[in-house]
Symmetry: C2
Subunit: 628 residues, 2 copies
């Protein structure tokens, strides 16, 4: 087992190194500000990476925004403090940090503890007993739940020191992950770079609801940069300090979370990993989405609909469906207000990585901004017929209150009026039994005695014409950079060169994702062929198809190898002035078509109106690939 595990780790690392080397060499991405030594957790997308990202985002807009008629918005990254105070980020968006007591270098406390436990377990330290191993595994399991104190105790108990210097470490303390700045010249208006795009949607709820004709359900969406000042970024593109998020906030009546289009996804089957299976140590299992919803494993149809749509989105992009699972949050992972939450996790060389979170956040966010701003972010349901509703009525008797409390009368009066139904009914019972009751007025910071004559509390039947409520929100949130990185790993493979002496790298991107859709080569350096190549290039530009033209005299095999490494799906070789060949990247099969039609063929296959197989049967492809 141990050696097996070790070799898996080695294979994983070697595979990752091969992928990352190719990605950096071909400028899919590079560390930002490299000529100045770089900054941890910041990366630039070079030309092919930038094109992949643009393609993924364009498809996201098509698959989600256009398909569901979502309301897309675009809000600033700079955000005033009050907004993030309301959302809870100012107080709670923290990681626990420890400092090297001599050098001041900062580390994430949980990372150090995790590394320590994994190291001990993986190295099969001779000293480790079965009991100790069980303890370390337990620590790993509860790691995310440990408080600052508990983490600090474990670090002391295991005598964990600074990994770089072996110096002692400080106690863990919270570090806020938001980049802070100041808005305007006065220095008096603190602001932050947003840690997510969602808040921009919540604060606009009222306008968006109006724009949608005051009707529920509707969804708003936003694509944009988000920022997290990670303590010590690692894992390349997976944990970065600035990233592109694509978020959807689907607002729905909490009493009706059905979805009319759910039947379109209910037959899908894929790996699901519900809470019960995780807790009982069972593996994820292929599950029918419709059953998961009908059995209540997934909380509601709307959440289920988005899980299905996310599955389709990721697999269309080229994510391997056998390395994609939907994992339900454990009770301890989920915010107290959340009704249910599933992560789309993709397996890559770093393990299972959360790439999309799909959460039913109930009414939490809209309520938080309602409370802080004083602007009610609510929806209305007009009743066809007025309905009779039992209503609590609290009527303070101002004259009596005035006599008893004088200048404090207003405060007491207001405190009585805002009692909850429970408090009011308790007071009513006490007043009826005892004639008076002690009552805490928080605005006066003291108790006062309320007598039976000072207030009447009753329940009345009222006619209501509408229902006013805070919508629930279901939030699918996509980490675009993480999805793209996993896509790179799932798309990468090697195959031997024609001579067999070297392994060549290939990205099997679907045409939709491929950064460049085709290359154009003259077979040999020859003016006529070059003119044809330029004419084809011109037609491709007009058709809006990205291409690369290579007029160098390099061997055709080398030119194929260069573009396979960029994941270019089609190569057009000009070997006559009337017709040319198109070679498909993975099968290496070629078809011969007229010069005039080649741009349209590539466009059709790229944009999905036809498939490569359609073209194969239309153009009578040779049965064997041309093994260049």
């Amino acid at each position: 087992m141990a050696s097996n595990g070790d070799s898996n780790v080695t294979n994983r690392d070697a595979f990752r190194q091969a992928v990352v080397n190719t990605l950096e060499r071909r400028l899919f991405y590079v560390p930002s500000f490299k000529i100045y030594g770089g900054v941890a957790g910041l990366y630039d997308y070079g030309p092919p990476g930038c094109a992949v990202k643009a393609n993924v985002l364009a498809f996201w807009r098509q698959h989600f925004v256009l398909e569901e008629n979502m309301l897309e918005v675009d809000c600033p990254c700079v955000t005033p403090e009050i907004v993030l105070k309301a959302s809870g980020h100012v107080d709670k968006f923290t990681d626990l940090m420890v400092k090297d007591e001599k050098t001041g270098t900062c580390y994430r406390a949980d990372h150090l503890l995790k590394d320590f436990c994994k190291d001990k377990l993986e190295k099969k330290d001779a000293n480790i007993t079965a009991n100790k191993a069980a303890e370390l595994n337990h620590v790993l399991a509860v790691l995310d739940d440990l408080s600052a104190e508990e983490l600090g105790e474990k670090i002391k108990e295991y005598a964990i020191v600074s990994p770089d210097t072996k110096n002692p470490l400080s106690d863990p303390y919270p570090f806020n992950l938001m980049f802070q700045t100041s808005i305007g010249p006065s220095g008096l208006s603190p602001g932050f770079m947003r840690p997510e795009t969602a808040q921009g949607i919540f604060v606009n709820f009222k306008d968006l609801y109006y724009y949608n004709g005051n009707k529920l359900p509707f969804a708003a969406a936003q694509i944009g940069q988000a920022f997290r000042n990670e303590i010590s970024p690692r894992q390349g593109l997976l944990r970065v300090r600035e990233f592109t998020l694509a978020e959807i906030e689907h607002f729905v009546d909490p009493d009706d979370k059905s979805h009319p289009k759910f039947p379109q996804v209910s037959d899908l089957e894929f790996l699901m990993f519900p809470r019960e299976k995780q807790v009982s140590g069972q593996p994820a299992e292929r599950t029918c989405l419709g059953e998961a919803v009908s059995k209540g494993i997934v909380n509601n149809e709307t959440l289920g609909y988005f899980i299905g749509r996310v599955y389709l989105f990721l697999t269309y992009l080229g994510i391997d469906k056998d390395r994609l699972r939907f994992r339900q949050h454990l009770a301890n992972e989920m915010a107290h207000y959340a009704a249910d939450c599933w992560d789309a996790e993709i397996e890559c060389s770093y393990g299972w990585i959360e790439c999309v979170g799909i959460a039913d956040r109930s009414a939490y966010d809209l309520r938080a901004h309602t409370d802080k701003s004083g602007v009610p972010l609510v929806a209305h349901e007009k009743f066809a017929e007025p309905r009779e509703v039992e209503k609590l009525v609290i009527a303070p008797v101002k004259k009596e209150l005035g006599l008893a409390f004088k200048g404090d009368q207003r405060m007491v009066c207001e405190a009585l009026e805002v009692m909850s139904e429970k408090e009011a009914m308790e007071m009513k019972a006490k007043l009826e039994s005892k004639g008076e009751v002690e009552f805490h007025v928080c605005t006066l910071a003291k108790d006062v005695t309320i007598k039976k004559t000072m207030v009447t509390i009753s329940k009345e039947i009222k006619k209501e014409h509408q229902r006013v409520f805070t919508p629930s929100v279901i939030e699918p949130s996509f980490g675009i950079g993480r999805i793209i990185y996993c896509l790179y790993e799932h798309s990468f493979y090697t195959r031997p060169s024609k001579t067999g002496y070297e392994q060549l790298n290939v990205f099997r991107f679907p045409p939709l994702v491929a950064p460049i859709k085709c290359t154009v080569f003259p077979l040999v350096q020859n003016q006529d062929y070059e003119d044809v190549a330029k004419r084809i290039a011109h037609m491709l530009t007009a058709a809006g198809i990205s291409y690369k033209i290579d007029m160098t005299g390099t061997s055709i095999g080398k030119r194929y190898a260069r573009t396979d490494e960029l994941g270019v799906p089609f190569a057009i070789t000009v070997d006559s002035t009337s017709s040319v060949t198109i070679r498909e990247r993975d099968s290496k099969v070629q078809i011969r078509v007229n010069v005039e039609e080649v741009a349209n063929i590539v466009k059709e296959v790229t944009e999905g109106q036809s498939t490569w197989n359609d073209m194969l049967s239309k153009y009578n492809a040779p049965s064997e690939p041309d093994d260049e």
Copy 2:
């Protein structure tokens, strides 16, 4: 004249108010964080604004990136200090600010002076003599050139006070416009939110040049957010604290700025406003671009090519060509290193607004980063035949220097080696005439005496196989938000309703730009028509065309008016189960087409394969519009 001017101002203000009211009411944009009172200079794009922006950016990619095979990159907004130190932003990206001495409120010093002068001139203050008016006009003309001291003197001279409180003002002092933050948890790595996207390209020059096969010219491009912490933002979308920039850096051999595609734009004619005309008080004039380049009015063909491409870009979007001019920077506006600079200015209710800057920045940026990083950002030109070049050779005689300067020998030696050609030849002449010379060694901060025996300076003929040089960069830089705002003003008009009692608002966006391409209405509420409308909606989604479906029983006229206000170019009305009408927004002309073909027709006209006129002749439209 005065009343005329006043009424122009009133008209302009009324027009702007009408446009802005429509834009805000229909959520093209709204002040950000409105429920919290908003933040000056930050705006959200709502659904139609967001769609317009996405359309403009998609067209930008098509028109520039794809057409020229540019290398697009995507770099972070968070930028470490050293990068912006090298670019000059840390030291020089400032505006002059004054503070209300009692309240501390901050103002831009030049804005206060400008407002004061304009106010005096426009109000035709009785006290103002012709001399005084001339003086105020002069101040307005040189405003951008005034130093802090000069601005301060003028503010004192004119007794300008705080506009809100009438309190006295502080002296002007520079305020850096970058949002500052701190990268990582230590608090020791200052960073800024980038003020432009260009630096991300410059620091990647070496990799991009390699990616391009070590060949010049090539262009890199970047679309992304940029940030300027304006002192007191005003003018709505025109001066904001966060905005989307689209920038191109075209790298070219400084000895050859010709452009092979210049003939494609050389026949274009449009308003140009060269330096000479501005200085001599003449107006901008329609000029042929080819002539402007051949006469040397525009510095070089590549700069000219981009001016032409920018003209085409803006006019395709719907910018009125008569309210678009290319204004050359005056000598005092241009950075000392710039070879030439032209702004595409668009006239709107705020006056002529700079929306695109097109500058030949010579080798400045690459040299600045080469100096700061120590990484040479240069290009190589291999010679077909080696060339003979005269080279300066400075050979310090270390033994003699060691005897004379002991421990300082190395410093003196290095200082000698880095002398410029001019310094070296002067030293050579003096050593030959006088035998010794005083020489300042800056690393020692003192002068030393150099004798003839200590150094030999000569010129030798050397064979060189390549030329190494820093490329020039030509930078077209697009303020996307400004372009979009001007487009809104240029597209807006009103026309009377059918009854003639009210004026209806229309945006005449071309289909390319329109946020929603068509609407689908059943003529009356009827199950059959609604089913057809849904079928059409489904076909539109499949074709990737954004639409709005309106099943309310509102009158057809009102439904047209609602969508005209969003600039929707085509309205599909379902009035039978087999065929439907398509109505064009501006002409109100309708054609009748089969249900099955309607989605494709809208797609063709929207994506530019056909025009509406093609459709008119194909479907025999009635000659008169249906005046609903």
